[in-house]
C-alpha cells in the first residue's frame, strides 16, 4: 500500500547546481529531494546484532599499510570539517583554525610524501554562525568552504522561524554549507511528516548552500530510528546526512554509520542521487578514521572517499594523522608537540 504524501517540490531546489568556487570538483548532481514516500520509511528493517557483526569484522578484513596508508590518511585530511564549536570560541581562535585548515600538515612531511606543491587542505571549516564571516574572510581564495552549524544547534529547540532566519543569516555571511539539527521529537514520536516538512524548509532556506542534516543519532537510540530519519531527510533534500552534533552522549559509531550508508545506497538506487555522509564526534585517531573510510568504500564505493561525498567532523583527529604521517616518512614515532596546532 502506497502512502505517499505529495508535497510540491520546491521548484528552486530541483534545478540547483553546485555553487561555483571549486568546492565540489566532481560536480555530483545535487539531490532535488522528492515527495515523502511513507513506504520508503515503513519498509525499513535493520537488525542491530547483524549490523554490529558487519562492522566488527571489517577491520579484520580490510587494512592499509605503508604508502597506501599514508595516502588514505592524506585523503582523510581532505575530508575533515575542521571544527570548533565551543562556548569560549573567539575570532582569533577561529582564525587560528582557518590557518591550520589551509596548511594541515608540516611542509617537510608533505614534501617527503611527494605532495609538495599540491593544494592539500581540509574539507571545510565548521563554526557557529557568529564566526562565519571571520572564517570566510580568513579562507578567502583558498577554495575551502565554511560550514555553519545552525537551527539552534545543538538541541534544535528554538522556534522554527528563528531556525530559518539563522540559516539565512549564515548564508548571507558566506557559509557554503549549513549543518542543521533535526527536531529529535519528530523521530521519537514517529512524526515523519513533521520531520520532512522541517527539513524541506531548511533546505529551501539554504538556497545554494549545501545542507547537512544532523540526526543526533545518540538521541535517536535505535538503528531503526536512525535509518528512517536518514531516509526522510534525503527525501526532504539533504545533501549530506550527518550523525551527531558532537554534544550527545554517544556520537558517531560504526553501526550507526552502517545504517546510514545503507539508506544512502537505497536512496541512490531509487532516485539516482548520491548523498554525502558525515560522521562527527569521537573520531580522534588515524586508526578510527581508516575504519570509517573502509566502510565508505565497501558499502558505497570509491566515490564516497572524496570530500564532495564524505566529511568527517573532528577537532583532534588531524593531530593524530600528522603524527602517523611523520612516522611514515621518518620511521620514528612522533609526538603531538612536533606539529603545529590549529
Amino acid at each position: 500500500m502506497t502512502q505517499s504524501v505529495f508535497i510540491q517540490n520546491p521548484s528552486p531546489l530541483a534545478m540547483q547546481t553546485p555553487a561555483p568556487g571549486g568546492e565540489h570538483p566532481h560536480a555530483i548532481p545535487r539531490n532535488s529531494g522528492r515527495a515523502l514516500e511513507m513506504d520508503w520509511v515503513d519498509d525499513i528493517r535493520i537488525n542491530l546484532s547483524a549490523a554490529e557483526r558487519r562492522v566488527a569484522s571489517l577491520p579484520g578484513r580490510r587494512t592499509v599499510k605503508k604508502d597506501a596508508q599514508a595516502a588514505w590518511l592524506l585523503k582523510a585530511i581532505t575530508c575533515i570539517d575542521l571544527t570548533t564549536l565551543n562556548g569560549d570560541d573567539t575570532t582569533e581562535r577561529v582564525k587560528r583554525l582557518c590557518a591550520k585548515a589551509k596548511a594541515p600538515v608540516r611542509s617537510d612531511v608533505i614534501e617527503k610524501l611527494g605532495f609538495a606543491g599540491r593544494d592539500l587542505h581540509t574539507g571545510a571549516v565548521c563554526v557557529y554562525h557568529r564566526f562565519v564571516a571571520t572564517a570566510v574572510e580568513a579562507l578567502d581564495g583558498t577554495g575551502i568552504p565554511v560550514a555553519a552549524v545552525s537551527t539552534g544547534f545543538p538541541a534544535g529547540l528554538v522556534p522554527h522561524d528563528v531556525k530559518l532566519k539563522e540559516i539565512e543569516a549564515s548564508v548571507r555571511d558566506g557559509a557554503q554549507e549549513i549543518d542543521i539539527v533535526i527536531t529529535r521529537e519528530h523521530v521519537l514520536t514517529g512524526d515523519w511528516r513533521a520531520l520532512y516538512a522541517e527539513v524541506r524548509d531548511f533546505r529551501a532556506a539554504c538556497g545554494n548552500a549545501h545542507i547537512k542534516t544532523i540526526l543526533a543519532t545518540g538521541d535517536l537510540k535505535t538503528l531503526r530510528n536512525v535509518a528512517k530519519a536518514s531516509m526522510v531527510c534525503m527525501m526532504a533534500g539533504a545533501d549530506f546526512i550527518k550523525t551527531s552534533t558532537g554534544k550527545e552522549g554517544v556520537n558517531a559509531t560504526l553501526p550507526v554509520t552502517l545504517a546510514m550508508l545503507r539508506m544512502i545506497r537505497v536512496y541512490q538506487e531509487r532516485t539516482g542521487y548520491k548523498i554525502g555522509f558525515k560522521p562527527a564526534g569521537g573520531i580522534s585517531t588515524a586508526k578510527d578514521v581508516l575504519n570509517y573510510q573502509f566502510l565508505m568504500k565497501e558499502e558505497l564505493g570509491r566515490d564516497w572517499l572524496e570530500p564532495d561525498l564524505f566529511r568527517i567532523g573532528a577537532s583532534s583527529l588531524l593531530a593524530d594523522i600528522e603524527r602517523q604521517l611523520e612516522h611514515h616518512v621518518t620511521g620514528h614515532y612522533s609526538a603531538f608537540n612536533r606539529h603545529p596546532v590549529g
Binding site: R45, G60, R61, V64, A71
Partner: protein, 795 residues
C-alpha cells in the same frame, strides 16, 4: 605504487602477515614429521611419508608420516597406558592441564594462526580472529567441566581411549572441539588429523608436551584415509569421534557396528538460509557472506541453500550481486582479503564440475568479477540463481564458495523446502518479526538454528546434526555426555543364554466349555490389525502349554507401522503436560488390570505370581515416572559470549523402532517405550519374541488411555528379522535394540541408509528393576536430540 598513486586510486595495497616464525618451526623439524606418541615425535614404523603442500602456491610444505598398523597400535597402547592415571588425576588436576593448554594456545596464537593459514589456505583473518581464539575458548570452557566433573557428572565414568578423526576445513579448531571434552572427561586420545592439514595438530602436540601434558594423554598419528581406517578398526579404541563426509561416516558406522565402540559423527550438510520478506535485507546479505564465503565455503554447516520469499527475491539478488563485487580473494596471509585458497586441487575440480552441472541444469551463474590469483587453488565467490529443488546443486554438498538460490511463497513452504534434504546440520532464519522467527526455528530439522545470524559457534553451545548430518553433540553439557558413559551400565554382564524353546503340548481341555478364543493382533495406527502375511506363531508357557498365538509380523507390517508413526506427528507438538496426563492415565488403566497382567506374565515366563505382580507394579511406577519426566526433562539456556541466548531444546527424534528383550516382557517394553513417547517420539515396538502377549494385551490399555493412533505401534514376530527391517527403513529416525548381540549388531550395521541413531545393549543384560540402570535421564537423553537455537538480540 606511490603515495600519490594510492591517493588517486584509493586501492588497498598489499598487507602481508609475516610468516618467519612458522617457517622457522618447519625448518627446526627439517620439514619432516613423525607421529606424536607418548609425548614425543617418533618416526613412522614403516618409514613412509606423505607430502603436504600450500594450497595458495602449490609448493611443498612438509613431509608427514603415513601411519601404518604398528603406529596406530603404538599410539593406542600409549593412550591406554596413560588413561588410568589420567582419570585418577581427578577433575581438578585435569582442569589445571586444560587451563594450561588454553594458555598455551593464547601464548602461541599468532604462530598457530599463520601456520594454519599457510597449510590450509584460509585467510589469516579467520585463523587469527576465529579459529585460534575459539580453540582456546574450548579449552577454557572444558577446563571448567573437568573442574566440576565429580559433582555434575557423578553418575558417569570416562569412556576410555578415544580415536578421533578430524577434517581439513578447521584443522586446529576441530582438534580443540574433539580433544578438549574428551580429555576433560578423563579419556585419553589418539587423534588423526586430515592428511592435507596435519601441521597445526603436530605443533599443538609438541607444545602440549612442553606445557606439561603427561605422555600418552594426547597422541597424534598422521596419514591418509587408510590410517584412519586402522584407527577405527583398532580393538583397543573404545570410541570413535569423526568429523567429515557423510560417505566416510557411513563406512565408520559399518566398521564399528557390533564392536561395542561408541560413535559420534559430525557429517555434511546442505543448510538452508531462509530470508523472509520482513527481514533486514542488507543484514541478511552480510549473513550470506558469513554463511557461504567464510572459509571458502568449506564449512559443514555453510548456509549453502538460499531460500528467498518471492516478494524480495529480486531485490535480494541485486544487492547480493553488488556485495559479491566487493569481496576480495587473495593470498591467505594478506590481511585485507575475504577469501583465500581452496584446500587442494581435488576439491577445486569438484567445485568446478558441480558448478558446471548446475549451469547445465539451468542455473544462472554469477561470479564476482574481482581478480583472483592466477596460480594456486582459488575459486571465486559464486551464486547460482534460478535453482530448483530437483537440481543436483540443490541437494549435493558442494563444499566450496557456491551458493544456490531458490524461492518460496509462505512460511510453510519455507519449512518444507528447508527440510527437503537428507541432511540436518544447521539453518539460518532471517525475519524481524519475533513471532515468525521463533515459530520457524523449531520446525527446522537441524541441530543448530541461527536467528538473524549464521555460523556462530561457542564451546558452551552444542553443535551437531539431525538426520544424515550425523549424531552426537560437541560443546555444552550435551557434548560432555559424548565422552562419558553411565556408571550404572559399566558393570553389565552378558545376558544368560535363553533356555531352549519348550515343545508345544496339546491344548485340548476335553469337553469342558473352552475359554473364548482371544487372538492377539498387531497394533498399527491405533487399530488392531491382522499381520499382512496372515501367519501366526504359538506362544507357549515354559512347560509348552499353548497360551495363545501372536501375529507373525513381516516387512509390510513394519512399513505400515512406520507410516502410521510418521503420520502421528501431532504427538511431537502435543504439550508436555498433555503427554504427561496420558502417561499417568496409562498407569491408571494398567493398574486396573494389574492382576490380569500378572497372571499373563506368570503364565508366559513361569515366574511366581508374586514376582509377576512385582513386574506389573514396577511397570505402573515406571509409567508414572515418565509421566513425571514428560514435562520436566527440559532443555536449557546456554550463555555464549554474545548479547543473546542459545536455547538448547530437547526435541523428539521422530519415529523410533524399539526391539524389546525377553526378560521382564512387560517392564522391559514399558521401560523402553515410555521414555520415547514421553519426549514426543512415536514408536514401532517389537515386543519380546518369546513372551509377546503382555505387550499385545497392553494395546487395550493404550486404546483406553487416549493415546493417539500411531504413537505406539506393536508388531510381534521374529525380533532379529524385524530389527533388520527397521534398521534398513530410511524413514525410521532411531532404533533401540535390546535383547541380543545379533540384534544390536544388525541395528548398528544396517542403520547406515539414513544414519539413524542407535541405542543397543550389545547383548548385555540390564536390571529393569533398578531405577539407576533403566529409568530416567539415562534413557531420556537418548530419546531426544538437542537443537540449539541462537537468538542474538538488540535494537
Amino acid at each position: 605504487m606511490s603515495v600519490a598513486n594510492y591517493f588517486e586510486t584509493m586501492e588497498y595495497g598489499p598487507a602481508p602477515e609475516a610468516d618467519g616464525e612458522a617457517r622457522a618451526w618447519l625448518a627446526r623439524h627439517d620439514a619432516t614429521f613423525g607421529h606424536f606418541i607418548a609425548g614425543k615425535f617418533v618416526a613412522p614404523h614403516a618409514g613412509e611419508h606423505l607430502t603436504t603442500s600450500e594450497p595458495a602456491t602449490g609448493k611443498t610444505l612438509a613431509r608427514i608420516a603415513q601411519g601404518a598398523a604398528a603406529d596406530v597400535e603404538a599410539a593406542v597402547n600409549a593412550a591406554r597406558t596413560a588413561q588410568t592415571a589420567w582419570a585418577k588425576l581427578g577433575g581438578h588436576g585435569r582442569a589445571r592441564h586444560l587451563y594450561a593448554l588454553a594458555r598455551m594456545l593464547q601464548r602461541h596464537a599468532r604462530l598457530f594462526a599463520v601456520l594454519e593459514a599457510i597449510d590450509n589456505g584460509k585467510p589469516i583473518r579467520e585463523t587469527r580472529d576465529l579459529d585460534v581464539p575459539l580453540a582456546a575458548r574450548h579449552f577454557y570452557y572444558h577446563a571448567g567441566w573437568a573442574q566440576l566433573q565429580e559433582r555434575e557428572f557423578a553418575d558417569q565414568v570416562p569412556v576410555g581411549v578415544i580415536g578421533q578423526i578430524i577434517p581439513w576445513n578447521f584443522p586446529l579448531l576441530m582438534l580443540a572441539w574433539k580433544i578438549a571434552p574428551a580429555l576433560a572427561a578423563g579419556n585419553t586420545v589418539v587423534l588423526k588429523p586430515a592428511e592435507f592439514t596435519s601441521l597445526t595438530a603436530l605443533l599443538f602436540a609438541e607444545l602440549s608436551a612442553e606445557a606439561g601434558l603427561p605422555p600418552g594423554v594426547l597422541n597424534v598419528i598422521t596419514g591418509d584415509g587408510a590410517t584412519g581406517a586402522l584407527l577405527v578398526e583398532n580393538p583397543g579404541v573404545d570410541k570413535i569421534a569423526f568429523t567429515g563426509s557423510t560417505e566416510v561416516g557411513r563406512l565408520i558406522r559399518q566398521a564399528t557396528a557390533g564392536t561395542g565402540k561408541s560413535l559420534t559423527l559430525e557429517l555434511g550438510g546442505k543448510s538452508p538460509f531462509i530470508v523472509f520478506d520482513d527481514a533486514d535485507i542488507d543484514g541478511a546479505v552480510e549473513g550470506v557472506v558469513d554463511a557461504i564465503w567464510f572459509n571458502q565455503g568449506q564449512v559443514c554447516c555453510a548456509g549453502s541453500r538460499l531460500l528467498l520469499q518471492e516478494g524480495i527475491a529480486e531485490t535480494f539478488r541485486r544487492r547480493l550481486i553488488r556485495r559479491m563485487e566487493t569481496l576480495r580473494v587473495g593470498m591467505p596471509l594478506d590481511k585485507a582479503i575475504d577469501m583465500g585458497a581452496v584446500v587442494a586441487p581435488v576439491q577445486l575440480e569438484r567445485i568446478k564440475s558441480l558448478v558446471e552441472t548446475g549451469v547445465k541444469e539451468g542455473a544462472e551463474k554469477y561470479q564476482a568479477s574481482g581478480a583472483i590469483p592466477a596460480e594456486g587453488c582459488f575459486y571465486p565467490p559464486t551464486l547460482l540463481w534460478n535453482v530448483h529443488p530437483s537440481s543436483t546443486v540443490a541437494t549435493e554438498e558442494i563444499f566450496g564458495p557456491v551458493l544456490v538460490a531458490m524461492t518460496f511463497r509462505t512460511p510453510d513452504e519455507a519449512v518444507m523446502l528447508a527440510n527437503n534434504t537428507r541432511y540436518g546440520l544447521a539453518a539460518s532464519v532471517w525475519s524481524e518479526t519475533i513471532g515468525l522467527a521463533l515459530d520457524i526455528a523449531p520446525k527446522l530439522l537441524a541441530g543448530v538454528v541461527w536467528v538473524n545470524a549464521t555460523n556462530l559457534f561457542d564451546a558452551s553451545v552444542g553443535f551437531g546434526g539431525y538426520r544424515e548430518s550425523g549424531f552426537g553433540r560437541e560443546g555444552g553439557r550435551e557434548g560432555m555426555y559424548e565422552y562419558l558413559k553411565p556408571r550404572a551400565w559399566s558393570g553389565r554382564k552378558a545376558r544368560a543364554k535363553a533356555s531352549p524353546l519348550p515343545t508345544a503340548a496339546g491344548a485340548s481341555t476335553g469337553f469342558d466349555v473352552p475359554p473364548i478364543d482371544r487372538t492377539a493382533k498387531l497394533f498399527v495406527g491405533g487399530k488392531q490389525v491382522r499381520p499382512d502375511g496372515n501367519y501366526s506363531r504359538a506362544v507357549l508357557s515354559p512347560k509348552g502349554r499353548r497360551l495363545g498365538e501372536a501375529g507373525e509380523g513381516n516387512r509390510k507390517d513394519i512399513r505400515n507401522a512406520v507410516a502410521a508413526a510418521r503420520s502421528a506427528e501431532g504427538w511431537a507438538r502435543a504439550t508436555a503436560h498433555n503427554r504427561a496426563q496420558i502417561l499417568y492415565y496409562l498407569a491408571e488403566n494398567l493398574s486396573a488390570r494389574g492382576d490380569e497382567f500378572a497372571r499373563r506374565i506368570a503364565d508366559m515366563t513361569g515366574v511366581t505370581g508374586a514376582k509377576a505382580r512385582t513386574e506389573v507394579d514396577a511397570s505402573i511406577e515406571r509409567l508414572f515416572s515418565y509421566g513425571a519426566w514428560a514435562d520436566k526433562f527440559e532443555g536449557s539456556i546456554h550463555a555464549p559470549p554474545l548479547r543473546g541466548v542459545a536455547l538448547a531444546m530437547h526435541e523428539p527424534i521422530g519415529v523410533v523402532g524399539v526391539a524389546c528383550p525377553d526378560e521382564a516382557p512387560l517392564l522391559g517394553f514399558i521401560s523402553l517405550v515410555a521414555p520415547l513417547i514421553a519426549m514426543g517420539n512415536r514408536v514401532v515396538a517389537v515386543p519380546s519374541e518369546r513372551h509377546p502377549l503382555a505387550a499385545t494385551d497392553f494395546y487395550q490399555v493404550l486404546e483406553t488411555s487416549d493415546v493417539p493412533g500411531g504413537v505406539v505401534n506393536i508388531v510381534t514376530g521374529d525380533r532379529d528379522d524385524l530389527v533388520k527391517v527397521l534398521a534398513e527403513h530410511d524413514d525410521v529416525d532411531a532404533l533401540w535394540a535390546f535383547g541380543s548381540q545379533e540384534a544390536s549388531t544388525a541395528a548398528e550395521r544396517l542403520s547406515i541408509g539414513n544414519l539413524k541413531r542407535t541405542l543397543v545393549d550389545h547383548g548385555l543384560a540390564l536390571d529393569w528393576y533398578d531405577r539407576a540402570t533403566s529409568e530416567g535421564p539415562i534413557l531420556l537423553r537418548h530419546a531426544v536430540q538437542v537443537k540449539n537455537i541462537w537468538i542474538p538480540y538488540g535494537d
